[in-house]
């Protein structure tokens, strides 16, 4: 009775405690990708009937991440739509994931021989995972709900699989659990694509933890053959794909300032850093911006890369060697879980180099390693387990203490911006963020100073994308506007003086400038002179190579705002030259052509758009916009 009740009781207390630790974080700000992914939802209030479109409209991943988007949409429809509510929901999901981790750990232990005390070890290891400061940048970063929900469904999938396996061990096979495992896996994929790792996770769970336990020997043998067959087959397939698509992968990295080889070498070090930051966090470095991470270019030239590489090879070799002993297999399970969890985002794909939220699911493996260590101690040296549990509890409290400080920082926009620069003085993003904060506080000299630091930092580090000089000037224009002390013509005419063949690259900053105009935050700025300067840079000749299609669209939006219809028309024409089938650009051009009375072009655009409508290629809002022109 005591054992049956104490687990849920202590887990509830742990959840309350973790919730209490995280609660001040709801006061924190929107960050980085929150804007691009969630700001569109602000339109939902005007058009709630388009909710389904918002759910399907996310472009972050190949599958659209519909489940988290649905949660954001529901939150807007039913809640107050505030950042606080979003963060509250994130905290609730984190706590729910804590329950899943506990559930998973308890289930895993039921497959171990002689397990009697089945709640305290899972409880302590769940506490480590739940209270680790590394999770703060996932839980309090709104858009990372995607990663959190992917983890939720991946964990549910593994749990359902374990129930299915338990039914096999009991000799009463329940296929419904297998079905649930598949369903949860699919839901995970619809949350974020990296939930695809649940397949290899299930395989290593079978091989390393369950070890093909079964009531019937033949079923056990079949499971063994299937698991090894799928693992080896899958491994060979991945290897073949890597070898055959290596060139394509290298090409994909051309969008970045680092090569594929540099990414892989960096990940060797970064993965160890994740491990360190999970177990022994250096909170001063924790945060959102790691674009100052050092990128090695040669394996043998830097001792850190060599050590990290050798350490990973040794760790993986040990995991393979562990296959020989049942106890060793269980010890190897956690580290393998961690590596498999990272196999998508921390390997060959041309993603950014370092993000803490990538550890949300893989870190369950690190906590699992702790679990298997404690389990081994409990089995072999029973007297030591009690003091070890006390020490683990103190360790959890230490982690919680670090997390509270991290949450305090994340609960205040100014503190967070300052702390990011303190922890990463050479991070371009951190400096940019602080520049923005300074501007919001009206400190124009500080804003421009940090903006310059950001520009120089971006040049210094490969992990940070090299910044166009023009973007730097454009950012200064925006910052000065935000601070209420706009730049003069003398100060902004520098834009285009460097890299005249591609003066601007960052669309986000241009959008901010357009928004500032619409919000009338900068009435003293010489908008028309500025627009004229841009016209001189982009429209003197019809050269579509001067910018990307999206940049031309952004420039058109600015010209539109300033009612410079000829300019807007010119920009959109270049955008359509680069991306002829882009519906948004066609609609914009339809608008500008109508104003400029370009009758034939108006008809041609209407026809093309109507044809697309008939093929059902237009969204609801695009159809509404088109209707405005066709009906009038």
């Amino acid at each position: 009775m005591y054992l049956r009740l104490s687990g849920p009781l202590f887990l509830s207390l742990l959840l309350l405690f973790a919730g209490w630790v995280y609660w001040p974080g709801i006061q924190g700000p929107s960050l980085l990708d929150d804007m691009s992914s969630l700001d569109v939802l602000e339109r939902l209030e005007e058009a709630p009937d388009q909710a389904w479109e918002f759910i399907n409209g996310n472009k972050s991943g190949v599958l659209g991440r519909r489940i988290p988007m649905a949660s954001f949409v529901l939150e807007r429809l039913w809640g107050d739509g505030s950042v606080e509510t979003t963060k509250r929901v994130n905290i609730a999901i984190h706590l729910f994931n804590g329950v899943l981790v506990y559930w998973l750990f308890r289930l895993l232990l039921t497959f171990c021989p002689g397990e009697r005390d089945s709640w305290s070890l899972p409880f302590l290891c769940t506490a480590i995972w739940l209270l680790a400061p590394l999770q703060v940048s996932t839980v309090l970063y709104q858009v990372q709900r995607m990663a959190m929900l992917a983890a939720t469904f991946s964990l549910l999938s593994v749990i359902a699989y374990l129930y299915w396996r338990r039914s096999i061990v009991a000799g009463n096979v329940r296929w419904v659990f297998f079905g649930l495992a598949l369903l949860a896996g699919v839901m995970g994929l619809l949350s974020k694509e990296n939930a695809v790792t649940v397949v290899p996770l299930l395989l290593i769970t079978e091989i390393y933890w369950l070890q093909f336990q079964s009531k019937s020997e033949s079923v056990g043998l079949a499971l063994k053959r299937l698991a090894f067959g799928l693992t080896v087959g899958g491994g060979l397939l991945v290897l073949w794909l890597l070898i055959s698509r290596w060139g394509a992968l290298e090409q994909m990295h051309e969008l970045r300032d680092f090569t594929l080889k540099e990414r892989i070498l960096t990940q060797l070090i970064v993965l160890w850093d994740y491990v360190r930051q999970f177990f022994i966090p250096d909170v001063s470095r924790l945060g959102l911006y790691h674009d100052d991470v050092w990128v090695p270019s040669m394996f043998w030239r830097q001792i850190e890369t060599v050590v990290a590489g050798i350490a990973w090879v040794s760790a993986i070799s040990l995991c393979l060697l562990a296959l020989r002993w049942p106890v060793a297999r269980r010890l190897a399970f956690g580290p393998l879980f961690f590596l498999v969890g990272h196999s998508l985002e921390s390997t060959v794909w041309p993603l950014e180099l370092y993000f803490e939220h990538r550890n949300y699911l893989p870190s369950v493996g690190l906590a699992m390693f702790f679990l298997s260590m404690l389990y081994m101690v409990q089995s072999q040296w029973r007297a030591t387990i009690r003091p070890l549990k006390c020490w683990t509890l103190i360790y959890c409290l230490w982690l919680a203490m670090l997390t509270t400080s991290q949450v305090t920082i994340w609960s205040n926009q100014n503190l967070l911006a300052l702390q990011h620069v303190v922890g990463h003085p050479e991070s371009a993003r951190a400096n940019r963020d602080l520049a923005h904060r300074m501007a919001e506080l009206g400190v124009v000299d500080g804003a421009l100073d940090y903006s310059k630091r950001a520009y120089l930092a971006a040049k210094l580090h490969k992990a940070a994308s090299d910044e166009h000089y023009g973007d730097f000037v454009l950012r200064n224009i925006a910052l000065a506007c935000i601070a209420g002390k706009p730049l003069s013509q003398l100060e902004f005419r520098d834009l285009g003086s460097v890299h005249a063949n591609r003066p601007l690259g960052d669309i986000a900053t241009m959008k901010v400038v357009v928004d500032l105009y619409y919000a009338e935050r900068c009435p003293e700025f010489q908008w028309n002179l500025f627009a004229g300067h841009l016209q001189g840079l982009y429209l003197l000749e019809f050269d579509a190579s001067l910018a990307s299609a999206r940049m031309f669209s952004a420039l058109a939006a600015l010209a539109n705002a300033l009612e410079r219809w000829e300019d807007a028309y010119g920009y959109t024409a270049r955008s359509l030259k680069l991306n002829p089938d882009d519906v948004q650009s066609m609609l914009m051009q339809l608008h500008f052509s109508s104003i400029l009375n370009k009758g034939s072009e108006v008809s041609e655009l209407k026809n093309r758009l109507l044809a697309l409508k008939e093929k059902d290629k237009l969204s609801r809002s695009e159809e509404d916009t088109l209707a405005f022109y066709t009906e009038s």
Binding site: P24, S405, N412, N414
Partner: protein, 646 residues
């Protein structure tokens, strides 16, 4: 073995009752910076991180004593404020818990070295030893001195570690141990050590005290056999701290000596004086003369050499005799050996070479455990071997004397005026006792004045009494900055007609030219600056003369520079000059958080938001433990009140 639990409970309840009259006592001395004046302890208990910053808000030791501070935070949360009663009651509970552990430790010690006794006899002896420790009147100044919870908690965890060790070691001595068992106990001990050290740094003594128990009681016996390796290992580890200290003294003496710059005695003088002080403590422990005890013992004669005073040499010789006796009879009298080493090792940090103040009674809280265990055991042995001394009478006599003395002392500690009056009566040569008496009398007068009763004779008497004690302080030491400042303050505000007789400010200025500044003098100087800031001490320009004098002699003192910074604010110097001074201080002492705080306020007041943000960034950067984080957050929450927040 521990068969006397009901009697133990009776003892604990009795001790609690005897302490009751003292629970109404005031906050005193170091309670100010650590508790009542600690802004981090005025926190919002509903925010998790505020508990963290409260727990790490002590500046008393390098580890910040978070466990002790966390319990103070708990008191604040429960009582919705800091109240002496809540804190002293908690201290009393900790004292009782420590008493329980003394009983367990004594039981374990007697169980091993008095194995011929019956269980009941051993248990009674252990109970007696615990009773003596619990009832010792010397511990009143630990239990009822709020901030000494730090010493209490460290004692609690050290005792816990010693209990764990002694029970395990007794078992191992008889039956040996498995590796599993040894590792488990090492883990328990490391846990106790961790908790002890994070309550107060001298919890590290647990390691040395374990060795003391090993060499004096168990003496290398393992699994029923004598292990020479283990015995010599014990002696080696017993001497190891001494070797380490000698190494430190030889190779980096400045590490020890540097702290003596702010003391009126040298390292040698302190060590010599401690030879006498340790005997004095021992006397108070065994023969509780409450008239000699007191909160402050700054009236002690400092031993300037072996023969000045001559009792130094006598004390030294006596300690040498004790050590010789220990070496010769250590196997014959293991309890005596244990008590001697326990007492000396227990005092080794605070009563040896480190530049701390000379005498504090709370330093005996832990070391006295060995003495009382040995005393309890010895009295039971004597009464067993010489039946002429009836055990019940002897035990009753000790318990009665200790109880009466404890009750009287607790009663004295129950009221601020009573406490200070008794302290002054017991230590008429103690400047601090006079100071606290004057401060309390003045406080009572001010309270009477605020309620409109200042005309009453008793109130007037208290005002006169306050001044009289300050005069006595001044007579005892004409360069005492605290006395000079307070006399200047009193004559300015309460006795303006006396200003014509003595120019206290001129005397203060003279003293600042020659006096070697001690830690307490900085408090007086800070109070002087605050007095000018409150316009209670006259024209602020005068203050500059004193600070100039002091800065000539201590040009690198950050504290004095910060006082000068505040002074510049009083005389309305330009902001640029003040900010330049802050930059100088920062250059002189990079990483001083107080300087960053002042820079934030100064730059904010100057309307320099960029500078304010930069100063906040520097504070965040320098504050590695994030101890100021909640303050910073509050500051951003209400930026208009930056100055008041900091």
């Amino acid at each position: 073995m521990l068969v006397r639990i009901p009697l133990l409970l009776v003892l604990l309840v009795s001790v609690a009752l005897l302490y009751l009259p003292g629970l109404s006592g005031p906050f005193i001395f170091d309670d100010g910076p650590a508790i009542t004046g600690n802004p981090h302890l005025q926190f919002d208990p509903s925010v998790a991180d505020e508990w963290r910053t409260a727990a790490f808000s002590s500046a008393s030791g390098p580890l910040r004593r978070p466990i002790a501070m966390l319990t103070f935070a708990g008191n604040y949360a429960i009582s919705a404020g800091i109240t002496p009663l809540g804190i002293k009651l908690t201290n009393l509970f900790i004292h009782l818990a420590c008493g329980g552990l003394v009983y367990c430790l004594a039981g374990a010690v007697f169980g091993y070295c008095l194995s011929t006794w019956s269980n009941e006899e051993r248990s009674l002896a252990a109970l007696f030893a615990a009773g003596l420790w619990l009832l010792s009147p010397l511990h009143v100044s630990t239990v009822l001195y709020s901030v000494q919870r730090m010493a209490q908690l460290t004692t609690f965890f050290v005792l816990m570690g010693l209990v764990v060790f002694s029970f395990a070691r007794s078992r191992w001595a008889q039956k040996g141990a498995t590796l599993d068992d040894v590792v488990a106990n090492l883990l328990w001990l490391s846990l106790c050590l961790f908790l002890a050290v994070f309550s107060k740094e001298n919890g590290a003594l647990l390691l040395w005290l374990i060795v003391v128990l090993e060499v004096t009681l168990f003496n290398g016996v393992w699994g029923g056999r004598d292990s020479r390796i283990l015995r010599w290992l014990g002696y080696f580890t017993l001497c190891l701290p001494l070797l380490l200290f000698s190494g430190l003294a030889l190779h980096a003496p400045e590490y020890i000596v540097a702290g003596y710059q702010n003391r009126e005695f040298s390292m040698v003088e302190r060590a010599l004086t401690q030879l006498r002080v340790l005997w004095q403590y021992l006397g108070w422990l065994i023969v509780p003369d409450i008239n000699a005890m007191g909160f402050q013992h700054d009236d002690i004669d400092i031993s300037r050499s072996w023969f000045s005073p001559v009792t130094t040499a006598m004390a030294g010789a006596a300690w040498l005799g004790v050590l010789i006796f220990y070496f010769v009879f250590r196997n014959r009298y293991p309890l005596f050996a244990m008590a001697t080493l326990f007492y000396l090792v227990g005092h080794s940090l605070e009563s040896s070479f480190w530049p701390l103040e000379m005498v504090y009674e709370h330093r005996n809280y832990l070391p006295s455990v060995g003495i009382y265990i040995a005393l309890g055991g010895a009295l039971f042995l004597v009464t067993e071997r010489a039946p002429i001394f009836r055990r019940r009478i002897v035990v009753g006599l000790f318990i009665s004397v200790f109880s009466v003395a404890l009750l009287l002392r607790a009663f004295v500690w129950g009221d601020a005026l009573r406490l200070n009056a008794v302290n002054v009566a017991n230590h008429p040569a103690s400047s601090r006792s006079h100071y606290f008496m004057a401060e309390t009398a003045l406080q009572y007068y001010d309270e009477a004045r605020s309620t409109g009763h200042q005309a009453e004779e008793s109130s007037k008497a208290q005002l006169l009494q306050a001044r009289q004690h300050l005069e006595l302080m001044y007579q005892a030491d004409p360069q005492d900055l605290a006395a000079l400042f307070m006399l200047y303050y009193m004559d300015q505000n309460y006795f303006p007609q006396l200003q014509a007789y003595t120019d206290w400010f001129a005397l203060l200025l003279e003293a600042s030219k020659v006096r070697t500044l001690q830690a307490s003098d900085y408090n007086s100087l800070n109070a002087l600056v605050a007095c000018f800031a409150a316009s209670a001490c006259g024209d602020a320009a005068k203050l500059g003369e004193i600070l100039d004098q002091l800065l000539l002699r201590y040009p690198k003192s950050v504290e004095l520079m910060l006082m000068r910074y505040r002074y510049l604010g009083l005389i309305e110097t330009t902001r640029a000059a003040r900010l330049a001074l802050l930059d100088d201080i920062q250059a002189e002492s990079p990483g001083t958080l107080e300087v960053y705080q002042m820079q934030i306020v100064a730059r904010y007041e100057a309307g320099d938001l960029y500078g304010t943000m930069e100063a906040i960034k520097s504070l965040l950067d320098g504050d590695e433990g994030r101890y100021q984080l909640t303050t910073l957050k509050r500051l951003f929450g209400a930026s208009a009140s930056i100055a008041t927040d900091l």
